[in-house]
Symmetry: C2
Subunit: 336 residues, 2 copies
């Protein structure tokens, strides 16, 4: 046997395979990077490896396309959440807009605190106060009216520090990740503590995620016929809180199967990652860690918004990937 010739043949074959258009994303023989805004490093490589394993029919970890469910938290995972959850900024704007119809709000907490810009009084109102503000601004109209209110707000409102529309406060690396997963047969869902009907009007155009793949917190709605016209009316009563232990419940209710990949950024996502990664076979749990005080915001254990402590403590032992925005992301916002 002529060994050098065999090796030469193998090298030629390897070269041919490497240059085969079917093995690459383009015709030049160099694969296109599906995640160009991610720095090359462990986090990116772990994601690429996971997708390769579950999509390769020859892999022991292969997962049928129908089972390739990936769930994403929204606030702090797909778009920013500082200086306050954007839905809370929407609530504040709505209180100001509705104030002329509610003269009593001038003296009634927590509305007075919002109108006076009194942070201390607002904080003192606590969760019951926030809930009261939410119900006063999110209920009492039809679902279609609420959708129009949200869309109009997003068209005109601007982020308080960047001056950008809120729908531009999304993370470019995550947009690429959503596209990359879908190109590999994944069905992508949002599973957020935010209001389901606050998100649905814009997730399709911004994230490519249609309304039926959005899971979130909700208030009760009822069906009514008004002047012969059927409508759904939003009631000032919580229906479901899609946070912490609620996330696996919301996933089960809306999706009906366990995801194989879950992406979050706070301890509100802990149970979603726990539920996802406890399943059989290859699983991916990812936490986005807000480490970049220059390009975004830096916060974790002590933050009132997007607190991340238990997730950081247990990620290693659970095999979850912690993505450092500062180190792993070349670009943060699409306009950077």
């Amino acid at each position: 046997m002529n060994i050098p010739k065999t090796i030469a043949a193998m090298l030629a074959l390897t070269f041919l395979l490497a240059c085969s258009p079917s093995d690459n994303g383009n015709q030049t023989g160099v694969a296109t990077d599906p995640l160009p805004s991610w720095n090359n490093g462990d986090a990116k490589q772990s994601i690429l490896d996971f997708v390769a394993r579950v999509t390769d029919p020859a892999s022991p970890d292969f997962v049928a396309e129908a089972e390739r469910i990936a769930t994403f938290d929204n606030d702090g995972t797909l778009w920013a959440e500082q200086p306050l959850y954007f839905q809370f900024l929407f609530t504040i704007d709505r209180v100001k807009e509705l104030a002329p119809e509610h003269p009593e709000w001038k003296t009634q907490q927590p509305f007075k605190a919002v109108l006076d810009g009194d942070q201390e009084a607002l904080a003192a109102a606590g969760v019951p106060g926030l809930l009261e503000l939410a119900m006063a601004t999110h209920a009492g109209m039809t679902t279609e009216e609420f959708e129009r209110i949200v869309s109009e707000w997003l068209d005109t409102a601007r982020h308080p520090t960047t001056g950008r529309p809120f729908t531009e406060m999304v993370y470019q690396p995550m947009l690429e990740l959503l596209d990359y997963l879908r190109a590999n047969g994944f069905k992508t869902f949002i599973v957020s503590g935010g209001g389901i009907e606050f998100m649905r009007p814009w997730t399709e155009s911004v994230y490519g995620i249609p309304p039926e793949q959005v899971v979130g917190s909700s208030i009760k709605t009822v069906f009514e016929v008004r002047d012969g016209e059927p409508v759904l009316v939003r009631l000032p009563e919580m229906n479901f809180i899609d946070d912490k232990e609620g996330k696996p419940v919301g996933i089960n209710s809306h999706i009906g199967r366990r995801p194989i990949a879950a992406f979050g950024n706070s301890d509100g996502d802990f149970q979603m990652l726990e539920w996802t990664t406890a399943g059989d076979g290859a699983r991916l749990g990812v936490l986005v860690h807000h480490t970049d005080g220059d390009r975004e915001w830096a916060y974790d254990r002590e933050s009132h918004i997007g607190r991340l402590a238990r997730g950081l403590d247990e990620a290693d032992a659970r095999g979850w990937i912690v993505v450092s925005m500062k180190d792993d992301w070349r670009r943060i916002f699409p306009w950077n």
Copy 2:
């Protein structure tokens, strides 16, 4: 102008167009009938016309693919519901199976009625009795345990009069309709009064409808970690009843947009059709009317199961299509 020649040219062109493979489902010049188990008639033609109008980009009624949402009731619309809802037959079998662990059921209603086969006592127990039976048999286990119980029952249980597995008690014309709509870019959903987790284990293999496109009634579930293993536990408490006024609410909660087509068979589907067909643009509302006492069952206004009265009274005025199983369906079950 030579008129006969022009007409001849037009005829030739028409013939060419009619024979173009791109205009037909096969290569022989004869279009394949997408609904072979439907007799040619008004009902079939109305469905074909609707699909043609909403999928033709040149039509004023064109609907973008993402908006082509079609919702289907299950019991009596996709599969049979006589002599009793199949989920109730499951409940009866479960009571009998669990009875050895519950000696108290021998003397306690409504369980005693089930164990004695006492229809009168069962009827006397009413809705509270049925709910008690449902909770005793559908709760107290994890979601995965319940899925296994349902799957095992479907593997072994047989329909009391036909002797067929329940998953064969499905309507062949509706299977064809589901395929036809999906081939035309529709996303098909089940919206049923039946239990969401009773349907999800089998809708994908039987109807081609994945779990995330199944909407139904539900009981409450909670997330727990048992011996380090996260589980979802089913509680004996109703969460949502997806029937009548509940159907538009369930659609809004799960799908987040109004369907353009809805299919039902009873007054429990009235509001779903009302909500669907009140939207702008082309809309399709269809009621399956159980008119075939020989091949299936004949019932409507006076039936305790699948009662259809208001729907029959108002279908014409609302432009809904009433499908007569006897006249419009060439075949009813796949095994006919």
